[in-house]
């Protein structure tokens, strides 16, 4: 039987699932609900059921969007089911409806991919925050509450300036890397980009920031818009193809995971770029730090971004780097490998489940009582920051490269 109805394109992928159930306990929505329906195995069963014409297409709609897309099930699955890709294709067949769907589609098509529009929007939001209008708005319009809670204080304009196109290595030159700036990163996390560049140059790498690069397409792909995502990927392909570098370094886990899929999106040239992609921690761990870092007295909980651990298989590298910082105590916490509930735009579209998933993590973090929570993805940073604040945790939330940067500075100041 080769089905030709809806979801025909996921059919072959669903056949990889032998229904063993080993993925169940790794799935945050299953842990939360206990429902087979909301488990990876259940969702695959629904997809296959649709493809085989046993149930109508509408039967997968709710679960397609209740799924976080965290891909923890892929890390657990011995059978190699490529759940993330099945999910994206399924979502394309059951687009999100209602105001949330329209707003998201508008943002992902018309704002996020356009650097200037995004800058304008973020500039406006910064003004709103300065004037305290966000709090006011949230009080008047409960629907805005979630977004207001999540949005971090927007850095001052000076920290939102793009990085220079080329930053030379300091000390003995060890190589040259290209940096993906990202779309949201420079606007909301400019200091993280700057820290990334500093850590790389201090470790002997020229950093080039190719012009013409932009949004990686991850959010669009997760929302089921494969063609828009592929268009954005092509733009990056052109921007990075020319750069003669040892690696394309990415400091946002979500973007890194997407870039690594460019082969699937764009064929051989995409695969070539994908092969050169490294998460910043992975890269630094691979090449080794040029000099031992300086002291940083802090209890740190590292929290795995799903798209780093499950999407790129990188879990040990950031921990090794952090543990190498003298004075820094890396404290394990039980729920580190589970999704924080940010999941792209999930925290806005599925606030209830997002909060439930986050609550588990916060409880586990509270038990570990760290000074710093470190995680390498903008969405997670926002979610964890808002969560820690709301739960009364006193921990600061930072990207691991920020800690490396601070320790590096401390190292330099050593006599």
């Amino acid at each position: 039987m080769t089905p030709d109805g809806p979801l025909a394109d996921v059919y072959a992928g669903t056949l990889d699932c032998v229904h063993c159930g080993l993925c169940l306990s790794s799935c945050p929505t299953y842990r939360e609900t206990g429902r087979e329906t909301s488990s990876p195995r259940g969702r695959i069963y629904l997809m296959r059921g649709v493809a085989e014409g046993r149930i109508p297409l509408g039967a997968v709609e709710e679960e397609a969007w209740l799924c976080l897309g965290c891909r923890a099930c892929e890390t657990a699955c011995p059978s190699g089911v490529r759940f993330g890709s099945l999910l994206e294709k399924t979502r394309a067949s059951v687009p999100r409806r209602g105001w949330a769907g329209h707003l998201e589609a508008f943002a992902l098509r018309r704002v996020v991919p356009h650097r200037r529009r995004l800058r304008l929007l973020v500039g406006a939001l910064a003004a709103v925050q300065r004037l305290g209008l966000d709090a006011l708005g949230a009080r008047l319009l409960p629907r805005l509450r979630e977004s207001q809670r999540l949005l971090p204080p927007i850095p001052p304009r000076a920290q939102r300036a793009p990085l220079p196109p080329r930053i030379p290595a300091e000390g003995a030159r060890r190589g040259c890397v290209a940096l993906l700036e990202g779309c949201v990163m420079p606007e909301l996390f400019g200091p993280v980009n700057a820290a990334t560049a500093r850590v790389l140059t201090r470790n002997g790498f020229d950093v080039v920031v190719p012009e013409g690069q932009g949004c990686c397409g991850a959010l669009q792909a997760h929302a089921g818009d494969a063609s828009l995502a592929a268009g954005l990927a092509e733009r990056n392909l052109r921007a990075f193809a020319a750069a003669r570098v040892d690696a394309v370094v990415v400091n946002s886990a979500g973007c890194g995971a997407a870039l690594r899929e460019y082969g699937d999106w764009l064929g051989a040239p995409g695969a070539e770029l994908a092969g050169r992609v490294r998460d910043v921690c992975e890269f630094l761990d691979e090449v080794g730090l040029a000099a031992p870092p300086g002291r940083l007295e802090a209890r740190v909980c590292y929290d795995d971004p799903c798209h780093l651990l499950h999407g790129q298989g990188v879990g040990e590298a950031p921990r090794r780097l952090l543990a190498a910082i003298p004075g820094l105590e890396l404290v394990p916490h039980d729920d580190a490998a589970a999704c924080c509930g940010a999941a792209g735009t999930y925290n806005l579209t599925q606030p209830e489940m997002s909060r439930a998933v986050l609550a588990r993590k916060l409880a586990s973090l509270a038990a570990a009582a760290p000074d710093v929570i470190a995680s390498g993805n903008p969405g997670c940073l926002m979610q964890l920051r808002a969560g820690a604040l709301g739960a009364g945790l006193r921990a600061r939330v930072a990207h691991p490269v920020e800690l490396l940067d601070e320790a590096g500075v401390a190292g330099r100041e050593r006599p």
Partner: protein, 482 residues
């Protein structure tokens, strides 16, 4: 019928609340199967209780509506046990996932049935304890399901199966009554009803609380990996080790096809893909004793033809080996869309010849066989990869399965080591038990569930169903159940 169904749904909602009662067609659709995707059947509703009282209320609602019910854990069972074979209500215990007490001093824990097996060991570890039965599915399967199937695992060889570790139970009987059987101190006098419920596959009531024994973590552990040219020589090594009087914690054989699948998966552990088979031997106990035993095992493996014997360098590598072993079933999904996991026990001394016979059966039917099994217990898992969409292949799989079981029984074995009978093997019970045996079991069942409402359609051969339905009826007519 529709009106009845609405009334049933309404009373279930009253029992557990709206959000804990699933009735939409797509929700019922995903509950049509467990780890075994054949024999699928949709339930009338699924409920997700959190407390014993809710379970009792659900059972009473089912009784009033005249429908049967089926307890379910994680649905990793491989014999169709958690499937509503005759319709009815699935009582999904996944939300009953609290560890109610953990007493390191007295070495026991009290848990709700939905606690995941591995979570219990994780919670006990800080106290230097663990929960010994370790099914390969332990990352997902529940204690309630383990009780249902009397599950074992690689370490059953030394530590025993679930029944050796359950001290007490709370059970909602099929009439909605709640009883407590046994307790932390074990059972003292009277009938050992705990023993009767463990392994009863959810046919005697719904387990709502389990008191389990916790075992001290061993002082030292050594895991050896013997590399063999083919499965038969690995089996010989198992025979040698057992004869020598050693009692390893685990003795597991993984054959070549399985190694290849696992090494292609996320659970790759660096097992040699050019080996015919590997034998995993785990020794635990006091450090000096373990070291001596490891030496002896090495010799015995070499004598049996091992080309080399590796040792897990540290705890991390040991865990990698075990994750590979335990991910083996799932990894087989790489070979074909479906996997039929067989489960039979044979006398250990006959392992080599039985394995050869099993291979011959699969060859004759043109089926892809792989073997990964608890060799120390003689517990075989011949796994057949297939595609359920191909009716001819499916028929051959079923045929071969029956022949495999018959071969094992003729060699003095049994038709299930740990996966239970469920719907899958109920028609083979006659290979092992005669009428008198089956009647004795049915009478026990009838004492708990006289009206046959608790997980019907499991364990007992279809031809005995009318007798099962009315145990007072004599005459034992072999009338197939409609």
């Amino acid at each position: 019928m529709a009106a009845h169904l609405d009334a049933l749904h309404a009373s279930l909602r009253r029992a557990v609340g709206d959000s804990a009662c699933l009735t939409r067609p797509e929700e019922l659709f995903v509950y049509e199967a467990d780890g075994l995707t054949l024999n699928a059947a949709k339930p009338l509703a699924v409920v997700l209780p959190r407390e014993t009282a809710e379970v009792a209320a659900v059972v009473r609602a089912c009784r009033e509506a005249g429908v049967c019910f089926v307890p379910r854990g994680a649905g990793t069972g491989l014999s169709g046990g958690a499937v509503a074979a005759e319709g009815g209500v699935v009582i999904e215990c996944s939300r009953m996932d609290r560890i109610l007490a953990l007493e390191p001093g007295d070495r026991y824990a009290v848990v709700q049935p939905g606690v995941v097996n591995a979570e219990l060991s994780r919670a006990a570890a800080p106290h230097g304890l663990f929960y010994a039965p370790d099914p390969s599915s332990q990352a997902a399967c529940t204690i309630g399901g383990n009780v249902g199937e009397n599950s074992g695992g690689p370490h059953t060889l030394k530590y025993g199966t679930t029944t050796d570790h359950v001290l007490g139970l709370e059970l909602v009987l099929p009439d909605g009554e709640v009883v407590r059987l046994g307790g932390p101190a074990g059972f003292a006098s009277g009938y050992d009803l705990v023993g009767a419920v463990v392994g009863s596959e959810g046919t005697l009531g719904v387990v709502t609380e389990v008191t389990v024994r916790l075992t001290p973590l061993p002082d030292a552990v050594e895991t050896l990996l013997g590399v063999f040219p083919e499965v038969v020589s690995a089996c010989r090594a198992v025979g040698g080790i057992i004869r020598s009087g050693l009692v390893p914690a685990a003795l597991e054989i993984v054959d070549r096809r399985t190694i290849e699948a696992v090494e292609a998966s996320v659970y790759a552990a660096g097992l040699p893909t050019d080996a015919g088979a590997v034998l995993l031997v785990e020794l635990d106990g006091v450090a000096e004793a373990v070291a001596g035993q490891a030496e002896r095992v090495r010799e015995l493996c070499r004598e049996a033809g091992a080309s080399r014997v590796d040792v897990a360098r540290d705890a991390e590598e040991r865990q990698r080996f075990w994750r590979a072993r335990k991910g083996a079933f799932g990894a087989m999904g790489r070979l074909a869309p479906d996997l039929y996991v067989h489960d039979a026990v044979v006398p250990r001394t006959k392992l080599p010849e039985i394995l050869e016979a099993v291979c011959a059966i699969c060859d004759r039917h043109g089926l892809r066989l792989s073997n990964v099994f608890h060799a120390g217990d003689g517990n075989l898992h011949p796994n057949i990869s297939f595609d359920r969409r191909d009716p001819d292949e499916l028929a051959r799989v079923v045929k071969a399965g029956e022949e495999i079981l018959r071969t094992c029984v003729e060699a003095g074995g049994v038709i299930s080591g740990e996966h239970g009978i469920g719907t899958e093997k109920r028609d083979y019970m006659g290979m092992l038990f005669d009428d008198a045996d089956l009647d004795a079991m049915l009478r026990l069942r009838a004492a708990f569930d006289p009206d046959r409402v608790c997980n019907p359609g499991k364990i007992f051969p279809a031809t005995r169903f009318c007798m099962e339905a009315n145990p007072r009826a004599r005459g034992y007519d072999r009338v197939p159940f409609e």
